[in-house]
C-alpha cells in the first residue's frame, strides 16, 4: 500500500437486495469499505457471499427489475454513484471504473474483431481522438497485454482462453480507469495461464497506477497479488485488513480461521483437510445475531442475539463478539 492514502472508493453501510414476487434475497448487508489509490483489495468469500453483487453495485449494473440498493452510499472520488443518473453513470463506466468479467469465453462479442472491440471503448469515452490515434492506442494496449497488434483484425474465436482474457483486460484498461473491478478474472483459466494473467495484471496496475478490487475465492491468488483483503460472508465483511494481518497471528474471525483450515498447508502434516460444517445461510432468511453463528465452533450465547460490530486493531477489523473488548479500547 502506498503511503499516500488518498481514498478512491468509499462505501458506507450498503444494503443491496434482490426482490422478486416470491422472496427477498438479502445479498449485501450493512457493508462499509474503502479502497485507496493504487492498492489492490482482495474480496474473498464463498459462492453467494455477495461479492459480485458488490461489484455490480459499484458499477450500478444490478439487474434492473430485481436488484436494488436499499440504503447506504457509494462514492467514487467526488462522484456519488448511488445518487447519479443512468446517463452520468454511463460516462463513468469504462472511463473511471472498469470491470473484468469472469468468463473471457463469453464476455467478448463473437462477431467483432478484437481490435474493434478495444477501439469501441475509446470511441465511447475519448471522443477527441482521431481515427489514427485510436488505431495507435489499440496497437499500444495490445502490445501491453502481450498480443501482437497484427492480430487485431482477428475474431475472439481465433484466440485461446488466456489470450481472450488478456483482450478483455486490454479493453478494461484502454481508458486507464482509476478503479478496476476484476470478478474472478482467472477462475475460467488453467493454472499456468492464471499465473501469467495475474502477473500481467499486477504489472499493468502498477504501471498505470490503477486501484483494483480483485474478487476471488482463491487465497493463494490473494496472497500473491493483494495489498489488503476483505473476507465476505453472507453479504457482510467479517474481516478486513492488510494481507500480512490476515495470513498471520491469531486475531481472526472464526470464519477466516476455518477458511484457512480448509486449504492444504505445505509445512504442516495434516491427514485430512478441515471442511466448514454446514452451509451458507439462506440469503432469503438470514439468522439473527451474527450470521456465522450456526456454523461457528466458538459460538457464544450473545452471538445468537446480537450482531457484532467491527473490532478494529490498527486497521485490521474483525466483526466478532470474541474481540468485542478490543473494540472498546
Amino acid at each position: 500500500m502506498s503511503s499516500v492514502t488518498e481514498r478512491l472508493l468509499e462505501i458506507q453501510n450498503l444494503d443491496v437486495i434482490y426482490k422478486t414476487d416470491e422472496e427477498t434475497v438479502y445479498a449485501v448487508n450493512d457493508l462499509s469499505l474503502s479502497v485507496y489509490k493504487g492498492e489492490t483489495l482482495g474480496l474473498v468469500g464463498e459462492t453467494g457471499a455477495g461479492k459480485t453483487t458488490l461489484a455490480l453495485s459499484i458499477m450500478k449494473l444490478l439487474p434492473e427489475r430485481t436488484g436494488r440498493i436499499l440504503k447506504g452510499a457509494i462514492h467514487l472520488q467526488e462522484f456519488p454513484v448511488t445518487a447519479m443518473s443512468e446517463a452520468d453513470m454511463r460516462a463513468l463506466r469504462g472511463e473511471m471504473v472498469s470491470m473484468i468479467f469472469q468468463d473471457p469465453m463469453t464476455s467478448l462479442n463473437p462477431i467483432h474483431p478484437i481490435g474493434m472491440q478495444i477501439a469501441e471503448m475509446l470511441l465511447l469515452h475519448k471522443k477527441q481522438l482521431s481515427k489514427a490515434q485510436i488505431e495507435e492506442r489499440v496497437d499500444q494496449i495490445l502490445t501491453l497485454v502481450g498480443i501482437s497488434p497484427d492480430r487485431k483484425g482477428d475474431f475472439p474465436h481465433q484466440f485461446s482462453g488466456g489470450m481472450k482474457q488478456r483482450v478483455v483486460i486490454a479493453i478494461a484498461l484502454a481508458c486507464e480507469p482509476q478503479l478496476l473491478l476484476a470478478d474472478e478474472p482467472t477462475t475460467a483459466l488453467d493454472v499456468t495461464i492464471q499465473a501469467q494473467v495475474l502477473q500481467m495484471m499486477k504489472r499493468l496496475k502498477d504501471d498505470l497506477g490503477t486501484s483494483m478490487i480483485l474478487i476471488t475465492h482463491d487465497l493463494g491468488v490473494v496472497a500473491r497479488t493483494c495489498d489488503r483483503v476483505a473476507i465476505m460472508y453472507a453479504g457482510e465483511i467479517v474481516e478486513m485488513g492488510r494481507v500480512e494481518d490476515l495470513f498471520q497471528g491469531d486475531y481472526h474471525h472464526p470464519y477466516t480461521t476455518a477458511l484457512f483450515g480448509s486449504i492444504p498447508n505445505l509445512t504442516k502434516k495434516t491427514k485430512r483437510l478441515q471442511a466448514i460444517e454446514g452451509l451458507m445461510p439462506d440469503p432469503t432468511n438470514l439468522p439473527a445475531g451474527c450470521k456465522f453463528h450456526p456454523r461457528c465452533p466458538r459460538c457464544m450465547e450473545i452471538c445468537q442475539k446480537e450482531a457484532p460490530g467491527a473490532a478494529d486493531r490498527k486497521g485490521h477489523q474483525v466483526r466478532c463478539h470474541l474481540y468485542a473488548e478490543a473494540a472498546k479500547d
Partner: protein
C-alpha cells in the same frame, strides 16, 4: 511472457478486409452464387426493361389478330388472349414484382426491427404492450389484412405497398424480438454496459449483428411471400391495375386457358419460382457468409 510480443517475429500476413472475407466465404457456396446470378439477371431485366422490350408497342397494346400465338422467333414466349407479347409483359412485370417486393420488406423490416428490438431489450411492460399489439395484427390473416387496408385506402401500387408492409411488420417484430432475447442474456452484453455503452448502441452494435442470421433468412423468404401476395391482390383486382403487366395477374388472366395454352401460365410462374428460389439461395448463402466463426 511480457516479451512475447517483442521477441517473436510475426511474418506479416496480408489481412483481408471484412467485406472481402465475407465475399470470399459467400463465393464458396456454389448454390448461393447461382442464386445471386439468377437474381442479378432478374434485376438487370427489371432495370433495363425499356431496352429489352417495347412497353407501349408490345406489352400493353392489344392486337387481337395476333392472339394465342405459340412461341416463335418473333414472340419468344408467344402472345396472350389479347395478342400482347408475353416476353415484353414478363420483362416489365419484373419491375413491379421486384421493386414492390424489396421495398415492402425494407420498410417492414425496419419498422418491425425497431418494435421487436425495443420489446426484446427492455422487456416487461414495453414488451407486453408492443407484442400484444403485434399479436392483434398477427391474429388477422396477412392476406385478409392487406385486403382490408387496400379496401380502406383504395387501389394503386403505392397503396398496395403500404398494405403489404403493414401486414409483414408483426412477423419481423417477433423474429427480431426472439433473436434479441437469445443474445441479450450473454455476458458480452453486460460487458458492453460496463464499458459505458448506451442502450441504442448496444442494440445496434452488439445485439442485432449477432441476431442477423435468422433476420436475413426471414427477409429473403418474405420478399418471396410478398411477391406472391402482390400476385394474389392483383388476381383479386385490388393490386396492380390492368393493363400494367404483373406476373401474378398474367397468370390469373390466363388460368382459363391452362389446358390449351399452358405456356401463358407457366412462363410467369417460372419467373416467380426463379425469383423466390434465387432469394432463398441468397439468404442461405448470406447467413453462412456473415458468420465470422465459419471463417477459415
Amino acid at each position: 511472457m511480457e516479451h512475447i510480443a517483442q521477441t517473436v517475429v510475426v511474418p506479416k500476413i496480408k489481412k483481408k478486409s471484412q467485406l472481402a472475407s465475407i465475399l470470399h466465404r459467400y463465393r464458396k457456396n456454389r448454390l448461393a452464387v447461382l442464386g445471386l446470378l439468377i437474381f442479378l439477371v432478374l434485376v438487370f431485366m427489371a432495370v433495363f426493361a425499356n431496352f429489352i422490350a417495347d412497353y407501349d408497342g408490345q406489352a400493353i397494346t392489344q392486337n387481337v389478330r395476333n392472339r394465342y400465338m405459340a412461341p416463335s422467333a418473333e414472340h419468344i414466349f408467344g402472345t396472350d388472349a389479347l395478342g400482347r407479347d408475353v416476353f415484353a409483359r414478363v420483362v416489365f412485370g419484373a419491375r413491379i414484382s421486384l421493386s414492390v417486393g424489396i421495398v415492402t420488406i425494407m420498410f417492414s423490416l425496419t419498422v418491425g426491427s425497431v418494435i421487436g428490438a425495443a420489446a426484446g431489450y427492455y422487456g416487461g411492460k414495453v414488451d407486453n404492450t408492443l407484442m400484444r399489439i403485434m399479436d392483434v395484427f398477427l391474429a388477422i390473416p396477412q392476406t385478409l389484412m392487406a385486403i382490408c387496408i387496400v379496401a380502406a385506402l383504395g387501389t394503386g401500387t403505392f397503396k398496395m405497398l403500404i398494405a403489404l408492409s403493414i401486414a409483414q411488420v408483426p412477423q419481423f417484430a417477433r423474429i427480431v424480438r426472439s433473436a434479441i432475447l437469445s443474445v441479450k442474456g450473454q455476458e458480452f452484453i453486460e460487458a458492453a454496459k460496463a464499458y459505458g455503452s448506451s442502450d441504442v448502441r448496444i442494440i445496434l452494435r452488439h445485439i442485432i449483428p449477432n441476431a442477423m442470421g435468422p433476420i436475413i433468412v426471414q427477409a429473403t423468404l418474405s420478399v418471396a411471400t410478398t411477391i406472391l401476395n402482390i400476385t394474389m391482390l392483383s388476381f383479386l383486382g385490388i393490386g396492380v391495375q390492368a393493363p400494367t403487366p404483373e406476373w401474378g395477374s398474367m397468370m390469373s388472366e390466363a388460368k382459363g386457358q391452362l389446358r390449351n395454352f399452358p405456356y401463358l401460365v407457366t412462363i410467369p410462374g417460372i419467373f416467380i419460382a426463379l425469383t423466390v428460389l434465387s432469394l432463398n439461395l441468397i439468404g442461405d448463402g448470406l447467413r453462412d457468409a456473415l458468420d465470422p466463426r465459419l471463417k477459415n
